[in-house]
């Protein structure tokens, strides 16, 4: 193989090698891209809007039912329930809902609730002015707590959405929280 060909080969090899490094990086870049994509489009039901101000306008002409679901991560010794199964609200109406949690373990555990809305596209219309899911919740052994959620549904919610489900999954983040301190 002549010298010039060997050099040409090496040059092309380096170019292709950089494509590979780039694509490896792209694999990881997909993680934030995915989050941004979900936020922009409101897909995936995770992007519940955090609202600083309560709603001003109320659309009295229609009601939307918001159902609540809770689940606790496998192996986490907490009981976690909404106090009501659902509420019927007018779009724009400010509403308070309470959830109760109790730590059944003999150790202190820190919980974190992760919300998800179904249908996913409705998530953008659910505004929370206050939610226990904004913060971590530590509970001592046997301690019980009532946690509040204040929300309203945007008046511009599409006509075809009459029922939506808000689900909270509760995770044990004691270890991660300890690591952060």
């Amino acid at each position: 193989m002549s010298r010039s060909l060997a050099q040409k080969n090496k040059k092309l090899m380096v170019k292709l090698g950089s494509v590979i490094v780039l694509m490896f990086g792209f694999g990881f870049a997909l993680v934030p891209l995915y989050d941004v994509f979900c936020q922009v489009t409101g897909l995936n039901g995770r992007t519940v809007v955090k609202s600083d101000l309560p709603s001003q306008l109320t659309d009295q002409s229609r009601t939307v039912r918001l159902e609540f679901m809770t689940s606790v991560a496998p192996g986490m010794p907490w009981r976690f329930k909404p106090l009501v199964k659902y509420v019927d609200v007018h779009p724009g109406e400010n509403k308070v809902v309470k959830f109760s949690a109790i730590n059944l373990a003999s150790t202190r555990i820190i919980g974190q609730a992760i919300p998800s809305v179904s249908p996913g596209l409705a998530a953008n219309y659910l505004n929370k002015t206050e939610c226990f899911c904004f913060n971590q919740q530590p509970l001592n052994p046997g301690e019980q707590v009532e946690m509040g959620l204040v929300f309203f549904i945007s008046p511009d919610i599409p006509q075809h959405i009459n029922t939506m489900t808000l689900s909270y999954s509760l995770f044990n983040v004691t270890d991660q929280a300890a690591n952060m301190l």
Partner: protein, 541 residues
Amino acid sequence: MADTIVQGGNENSTEQNNTDQKSTAHHHQPPKGIMRWILTTNHKDIGTLYLCFSFLMFLVGGGMAMVIRAELYQPGLQIIEPGFFNQMTTVHGLIMVFGAVMPAFTGLANWLIPMMIGAPDMALPRMNNWSFWILPMAFAILLSSLFMEGGGPNFGWTFYAPLSTTYSPDSTALFVFAIHIMGISSILGAINVIVTIINMRAPGMTYMKMPLFVWTWLITAFLLIAVMPVLAATVTMVLTDKYFGTSFFEAAGGGDPVLFQHIFWFFGHPEVYIMILPSFGIISAIIPTFSRKKLFGYSSMVYATASIAVLSFTVWAHHMFTTGMPLTAELFFMYCTMLISVPTGVKVFNWVATMWRGSMTFETPMLFAIAFIVLFTIGGFSGLMLAITPADFQYHDTYFVVAHFHYVLVTGAIFSIMAASYYWVPKWTGHMYDERLGKLHFWCSLISVNVLFFPMHFLGLAGMPRRVPDYALQFADFNQLVSIGGFAFGLSQLIFLVVMIKCVRGGTKAPAKPWEGAEGLEWDLPSPAPYHSHTTPPVIK
């Protein structure tokens, strides 16, 4: 020319040729014995290694399939534990994809591409040696994990999180490293193919004169370097999620398990085409030879291959229709998936048009090639059925899916590799294979493979889920039939082994061009092909 026609591709002729060559030695000589194979940088030796290794893996993965079919012969749990069953389905898939199909294609690329484009060897021979030899290590690691406490990978070859993170066995790190090494191997192989094709073509071998096998491999190699790094990223995330407390796929830490599926299938769908595009090249070489006609629509074949490759990046979410995607996304991925059948249809049309009014003969490679066209098309049709979003909700995770991808991979990719082996083996060994045994292998395979996979369609439509060690009673009869087909297909492959061993050891001497209608530079070389192909660039007409 005498000094270039000295080294056969097989071990038998090595010794006597070595002495021949000493007198006229101007190439470095391969060492004798095992070191020849370990140190070799010769594209033919490495091609042979790849092909032998992939056949070995085909038998190992096939053995696991036999275990699976034995357990499913009857409803209820008879032979193995459900946990071990899961390890069998997982490792069967991993071995067949990364150990059998992909290395077989790389082996064919090594053997054929330099001969087809008029090059003396691959462009990066030392790297070529590495890209092969890390492969046995990867599979040694993967297979050893089966014997670890807690067992080997049991989460399916798609290793969906959280199955592969929260709920996976302790040996998952070994799985991750094995995948990393396999990925590096195929990336190195792909770089080599691209550099060889772009820089090493003989003068006059323009891109649009390249044989389609070279074209399809060039496109495949680009797919490989685009998506194998993404697979590497995915397994790395699985590794850190499981062992180092990151939360890429863990909802509790702000991650998302659905994200895993997106990243995995961003790799996974182009991967499907990595395993089929070289087949298209093989079939496009064999059909014209035995039809004694030029390939119909050469340039449309090139463009069809390229458009399949591009489209393959836009369809990944058709694996995820049931994850709760919005309607727009489901429609987008449904239409894109269906769109792929257009360039694929162009190819099938061209092959059939090539055969039309040709003077056809039906030697073993041609039989496998025709079976490929028919059966791969059946696999394509079931793929179209799966592409229909509302129908997919019914078929998802059933045996219909298993039937679909085995039609495209076994009667598609594997049949094309068989066809290629029969077609080029006279060039590799210098001997003709046993045509009678070859035909026997073909007919046994053809009948058994359909007994094996065709009833799976009905099992799936009737609702039998995939990846289960036990099933409801109404599926018993068909499963028995499927298992019998499976055992027959497995045994039939031993005929292939016999044919190939016989062909390496001896047989009728093969002329330089054993097939009357064959075209291409590889047939200008004597059979067996000399140790160094085209030492002086051939003249392209």
